[in-house]
């Protein structure tokens, strides 16, 4: 989308980031997997296939798998060199995400309106 070399030929370092090792095959696999993982919870919920708890569990599991698929097939989490910005960003993002989900559940559980 953008032009990472825009800062000049003699610039000290290359801003390409990690080499993009994604092949057509891996993109197609990722694409299909992400669609399958989206369709499964939709089918399960629309057809009332299981109890509410099981449905919730299926949605959560599919969400986590979806997260992994995105990272592995599209975000190139595997082909990273030093410095490990991807890893740092991922850990930080996970901490914030955990805070958001756990915090919301905590706040809303004790919320007088909700109960």
């Amino acid at each position: 989308m953008a032009n990472p070399n825009a800062h000049g030929a003699q610039h000290g370092h290359d801003s390409h980031g990690g080499g993009h090792s994604g092949s057509l095959k891996s993109y197609v696999i990722g694409f299909v997997l992400s669609i399958v993982l989206t369709v499964i919870p939709l089918v399960v919920v629309m057809n009332d296939m299981f109890s509410k708890q099981v449905n919730t569990l299926i949605i959560l599991v599919m969400a986590i798998l979806q997260f992994a698929v995105q990272l592995l097939f599209f975000m190139h989490i595997r082909d990273e060199e030093k410095p490990r910005f991807n890893l740092i960003a991922l850990i930080f993002g996970l901490v914030i995400m955990l805070t958001i989900v756990a915090g919301s559940i905590w706040i809303m559980t004790y919320n007088a309106v909700a109960t």
């Binding site: 825009a6 800062h7 000049g8 980031g17 706040i107 309106v113």
Partner: protein
């Protein structure tokens, strides 16, 4: 047929209010004047090739700043209208409905369409110059970000004359913002205006994180980076994690309104409190997003005008980064009164108080930097010195608000209003003004008139205290926010009148600033040097305004405040390190630059069309707009010719012209 047109236009345009009618007429006249001027001077082509399609970070920055100053004007007029109403509530200058619309648009415009673009404008102008880069990491995306912001802001603003403004508060809490509470299109303008500009903000955040991490000049280790760039990094990391929450939250609200979902309704299993919970997960980090760069600006200015290295560089970095981390753990303090129980409130009260610690560290750093410095007080430094006491008072009242039991008294009162205006004006606005004055010569090659700047400064400051100090007292007297009338028996009127006087003093201050800019352009005195303030960082080592490619040769950095150290070495008659000399004497090479592109403008315009279609639920318009967006994406994907080289002789000529002016 005629009746149909009449019926449509009475729904489409806002009618029946003389204030808005006046605005409609003046908007139409301004548009005609702009079109006439551009056509008369044959400037359409110039506008398109030099500005609208530009991917140059300096031009994008200037466009951001122009847009934000226009928005400051509109938000400021909103504020003055509200103050007039509150000084004389019996006059019914604004009726309840109009008042609701005005406090809503005032809040949204000031935070999202004034503070954010002013901040992005300064990012764009300063960061690449300060870290020794020739542009941002993704210049095309940068242009797209600007135009997404611009058209988002326009979509929001258009609601004021077409369809009716949103009036459910600046964060649009349900159930008021649901279809049941706000059946008009105003709320849809709100959702789409913010969504479109929000995508732009997120992209800018990513862009600058990558720029700072990947494009620093050789030798500039992270711990040698100027403090403003550090503050931009911490702010952008926060943007990257916070803005997706906003997008999702508003999307859920959109689903509620457009498709009849039940995320935030009390029936059908939803819960309006969940919206508060989600929106403040963005909203709280958002206020740190806008204040952190202001801290960076003050750090640069204090060091420059004390002629001293910033005191406690490492602790400053640590404070910035820990604030951006802790900003994600405090959101519930915006709704202590929601009833989530003592444990939740205690936790979020403590996290809120923790944030005061790194902020306090920063204040001491600035004070110790000034201690025994060779101080001078031109306008940027004045704003910095005025900021410190103002922000301390604002911060301390914030700590008062963080005490959860006491907050049950302060909640939604004018005490809160005074608090957040004090940190947002005293911190953010003062900071960005300081930055504007400081980097103005770098943008345009001339300084703003000092005398008029001092008038503006004093009017702003005195006006600020006259306006907001009474509001603390009004809060204690029981006055709550967001209503347009109160009974004379309440005894609130005298202080409200004082507050209104203060607001108008700030309005006069703004006029002084407009005069200051006009005066400085009329009696133009171009500077002969790129180093306007005897600066310390790389941006002052190149000519003002910076040439298109910024640096003819990318410098090699050896220390923190590199340009200052270099000047000191020269004074002492010492030699630079061999790698620095080698980089300076290397032969010029052709410079690789990104080509201008019209796609960002057209794509954002398509988003505007699609958003307008969604607001009115006109399917054909949605298809046209989204079709345009997809076409632009395809066109960009298959454009391979996106860059070019500036030949050496052109660089030589530009450098000779800029340096020859000495």
């Amino acid at each position: 047929m005629w009746d149909k047109i009449k019926e449509f236009s009475s729904e489409f345009f806002v009618t029946g209010d003389p204030l808005i009618l006046g605005a409609q007429v003046s908007i139409a006249l301004t548009l005609v004047a702009i079109i006439f001027t551009l056509s008369y001077f044959k400037k359409w082509r110039w506008l398109w090739t030099e500005w609208l399609t530009s991917v140059d970070h300096k031009k994008i920055g200037i466009m951001y700043i122009i847009a934000s100053i226009l928005m400051l004007f509109r938000g400021g007029v909103d504020a003055l209208l509200m103050r007039v109403q509150l000084a004389a509530p019996e006059l019914e200058f604004l009726n309840a409905e109009h008042y609701n619309a005005i406090f809503t648009t005032h809040g949204v415009i000031m935070i999202l369409f004034m503070a954010m673009p002013l901040m992005f404008g300064l990012f764009n102008i300063v960061v690449p110059l300060q870290i020794g880069a020739r542009d941002v990491a993704f210049p095309f995306l940068n242009s797209l970000s600007f135009w997404m912001f611009f058209f988002g802001a326009m979509l929001f603003n258009v609601s004021f004359v077409i369809g009716g403004s949103p009036d459910a508060g600046w964060l649009a809490y349900p159930p008021l913002s649901e279809l049941s509470g706000s059946p008009g299109v105003g709320q849809d303008f709100y959702i789409w205006g913010i969504q479109i500009s929000g995508i732009g903000s997120l992209a800018t955040g990513i862009n600058f994180v990558v720029t700072i991490l990947k494009m620093r000049a050789p030798g500039m280790k992270l711990m040698k980076m100027p403090m403003f760039s550090w503050s931009v990094l911490s702010s952008c990391v926060t943007i990257m994690l916070a803005f997706p929450i906003l997008t999702v939250t508003l999307f859920l609200l959109f689903l509620d309104r457009y498709l009849g979902a039940h995320f935030f309704t009390l029936d059908g299993g939803g819960n309006p409190m969940m919206y508060l919970n989600l929106i403040w997960m963005w909203g709280h980090p958002e206020v740190y997003i806008v204040i952190l760069p202001a801290f960076g600006i003050f750090s640069e200015i204090v060091a420059t005008f004390a002629k001293k290295k910033l005191f406690g560089y490492k602790s400053m970095v640590f404070a910035l980064m820990s604030i951006s981390f802790f900003s994600f753990f405090t959101w519930a303090h915006h709704f202590f009164t929601m009833g989530s129980g003592a444990n939740v409130n205690a936790f979020f009260a403590v996290t809120t108080m923790i944030i005061a610690i790194p902020t306090g560290v920063k204040v001491f750093n600035w004070l110790f930097t000034m201690y025994r410095g060779k101080l001078s007080f031109p306008t940027p430094m004045l704003w910095t010195v005025a900021f410190i006491p103002c922000f301390i008072v604002g911060g301390m009242t914030g700590v008062m608000l963080s005490v959860a039991p006491a907050d049950f008294q302060f909640h939604n009162s004018y005490f809160l209003i005074a608090h957040f205006h004090q940190v947002l004006i005293g911190g953010v606005v003062f900071g960005y003004f300081a930055g504007l004055y400081y980097w103005w010569p770098k943008m345009f090659g001339f300084k703003l008139h000092e005398g008029l700047g001092k008038w503006a400064f004093w009017f702003w400051n005195i006006g600020f205290y006259v306006c907001f100090m009474p509001q603390y007292a009004l809060g204690f007297m029981g006055m709550t926010r967001r209503f347009n009338e109160y009974n004379f028996d309440m005894g609130w009127q005298p202080l409200n009148v004082v507050s209104t006087v203060g607001a108008f003093l700030m309005g006069i201050a703004f006029l002084f600033q407009v005069w200051q800019i006009a005066h400085s352009i009329k009696f133009l005195k171009m500077e002969k040097t790129g180093d306007s303030w005897n600066g310390r960082t790389l941006e002052w080592s190149i000519p003002s305004p910076a040439p298109h490619y910024n640096f003819a040769r990318i410098p090699v950095v050896t220390s923190q405040d590199d340009f200052w150290e270099k000047k000191q070495r020269k004074l002492r008659g010492e030699k630079d390190a061999p790698e620095v000399i080698a980089a300076e004497q290397a032969p010029l090479e052709p410079i690789h630059m990104p080509k201008n592109s019209g796609i960002p403008f057209i794509m954002s315009l398509s988003w505007f069309v699609a958003g307008f279609g969604f607001v009115w639920d006109w399917k054909w318009m949605i298809f046209v707009g989204m079709g345009g967006v997809i076409a632009c994406m395809l066109a960009r994907s298959f454009t391979y010719d996106t860059d070019y080289y500036i030949p050496v002789d052109e660089v030589q000529r530009t450098e000779a012209a800029a340096r020859g002016a000495h």
